[in-house]
Amino acid sequence: MIENRPVSTAVSHLVLLAGVAIVLFPIWITIVAASHDVARLLEVPLPLGLGDQFFENLKQVVSTGVEGSTPIGIMLFNSLVMALMIAFGKITISLLSAYAIVYFDFRFRMLFFWMIFLTLMLPVEVRILPTYEVVAQLGMLDTYWGLTIPLIASATATFMFRQTFLSVPDELLEAARIDGAGPMQFFFDILIPVSRTSIAAMFVILFIYGWNQYLWPLLITTDKSMVTIVMSIKGMMEALEETPKWHHIMMTALLAMIPPVLVVIGMQKLFVKGLTETEK
């Protein structure tokens, strides 16, 4: 910045470090708790540093699973399937519908737009009961389809791609038309590559959205083999009336956190760029 006053810069760093410490504290404690045995976690004062039981806990959680619940591997797999189906499904249908709405003049265009738009930001939580009934009537309970498709019916991605497409210069379409590209060729050869930042950002958002779903899978799955890892936490905390088995719970929480965290951090640049440039 302008003046290079070491003091004010140092203060800024201090504030930031304090902020980071507060924000990351719960996550650090998760790792700590996952590295101690259950007895240590009931002793006051509680540990703030790492213990030596991390891999033991990991082994227990992964191999035998937490008593009475689905094996971790299956839950992670279910979460992954759900996250990917939601992310790819939503991106695909949203790219197509945004393309139609921005680049074609057709009857009922505005009607369609408003129909999609009404679902914008309307989470399943709000219409949970009737949606559940519809899915039940369609026989999609306890299926991946039932788990994902109703969540695909929201307009965030369509809306974001619409914004992206509107910012693509008209001349690109004109040049492509002169170059003999038809509508689908323009879509695949030009529009999608040009929008890749938004698509990447949307992938991150939707992957996390899908991975982190809670209420919907809770309602729609009764079969143990369909449980996702995020859902399992609650069950584990209530498994017994006594004090929860924190070392296993925190290890599971850690496993549930790692994939979305990796996706966000790994795609950070694209994600931040796409998110803040198009959504604003």
């Binding site: 210069p169 038309r177 002169i178 170059d179 003999g180 050869d189 030009i190």
Partner: protein, 360 residues
């Protein structure tokens, strides 16, 4: 037979605005036609109708003997260079140039050969694997041209292709385009609002004003015999001087304020109030000249001097600003009163109402 033919072409935008009012134009094969006019006069609209990017409200457009009104842009056998180049940002230079050919189903080695040839022609060989972002403005411009040339179209369409370049590069690229066009012999329609570009590049010029064709002709035609006051004022820099004058009853002379200038030949008009036009470069300082001037400001450009002056008249009404352009350096000072004269062959007269040229 003409290569591009426009018959009574009109454009009314969906909002009801009529941007083009009945344009007729015949372009010979290999001709370089420049469309000029002030901003918003409809140049791009007209060009884009030829390209097929705007619908044609009425009239007909023919290219190479085919009526193209209902054809897609890609079927019209044209290529276009855009003001902002419209290069595909995610494709390399090579792919940008090859894309159109690929869509036509051209064989791979044929594409390779043609793109290679054009790259050589435009000195783009070393840039083939770069993305547009990694190119300078001038290089992007050349890629945009390369993309047009590679398709060997029946006509090139340019929409202000040089306006995003700096002044020096603009002069350079002007020559490059002109030379290329002469070499390839491809019919060209070129839009600009820069009259130097227009004068230097065009075989023939079309001056458009508010969607109406003011005049079509060679650059010299337009300079020497502008058919309307608009064209007279638009072509030439500094712009032509205009003075409202009164014709004597017998039509043998006209009056600028107190001074009477004789005419060699009677004018073909019934009006006595007319507009007298003369170019700054046709005024000469002359102690016996009939036009009295008061110098307001002198701009010394080295090779020439531009004098901004006022008619030095007793009546205030006609104190028009007059510009003179003199070769070399002048010793005159601001505020000096001087006299100037014009050779009669450089007189231009226009109808005050219609703006049409009055023949003599």
């Amino acid at each position: 037979m003409s290569h591009i033919l426009l018959k009574g072409v009109e454009k009314i935008y969906p909002n009801g605005y009529q941007a083009i009012h009945g344009v007729d134009l015949e372009i010979e094969e290999g001709e370089f036609i420049v469309l000029v006019g002030p901003s918003g006069c409809g140049k791009s609209t007209l060009l884009r109708m030829v390209a097929g990017l705007e619908t044609i409200t009425s009239g007909e457009v023919h290219i190479a003997g085919r009526k193209v009104n209902d054809l897609e842009p890609s079927q019209r056998d044209i290529a276009m260079v855009f003001q902002n180049y419209a290069l595909y940002p995610h494709m390399t230079v090579y792919k940008n140039m090859a894309y159109g050919l690929k869509n036509l189903g051209t064989a791979k080695d044929e594409i390779n050969r043609r793109v290679g040839d054009v790259a050589k022609l435009l000195e783009l060989e070393d840039l083939m694997q770069r993305k547009p972002k990694q190119l300078s403005g001038g290089q992007r411009q050349r890629v945009a041209m390369g993309r047009a040339i590679v398709r060997k179209p029946a006509a090139f369409l340019f929409d202000e292709p040089l306006s995003n370049l700096d002044a020096k590069l603009r002069v350079q690229m002007r020559l490059v385009i002109k030379n290329l066009q002469a070499r390839l012999g491809t019919t060209t329609l070129y839009v600009t609002h820069d009259q130097v570009e227009a004068m230097t590049m065009a075989d023939r010029l079309l001056v458009l004003n508010a969607g109406i064709v003011e005049q079509i002709g060679t650059p010299m035609d337009l300079y020497e015999r502008p058919q309307t006051r608009f064209v007279a004022g638009f072509i030439g820099s500094p712009a032509m001087n205009f003075v409202e004058v009164k014709l004597s009853d017998d039509g043998s002379k006209f009056h600028i304020g107190d001074n009477a200038l004789p005419l060699n030949k009677a004018l073909d008009t019934s009006q006595s109030e007319i507009t007298f036009g003369f170019r700054p470069e046709h005024l000469v300082l002359d102690d016996h000249g009939i036009i009295p001037l008061k110098i307001a400001l002198i701009e010394h450009l080295g090779a020439e001097s531009i004098i901004h002056a006022k008619l030095n008249n007793s009546d205030d009404k006609s104190s028009n600003a007059i510009t003179l352009r003199l070769n070399g350096h002048t010793k005159e000072q601001n505020g000096n009163i001087v006299r100037a004269s014009i050779a009669p062959e450089h007189y231009h007269f226009f109808n005050q109402k219609s703006g049409h040229r009055i023949r003599s």
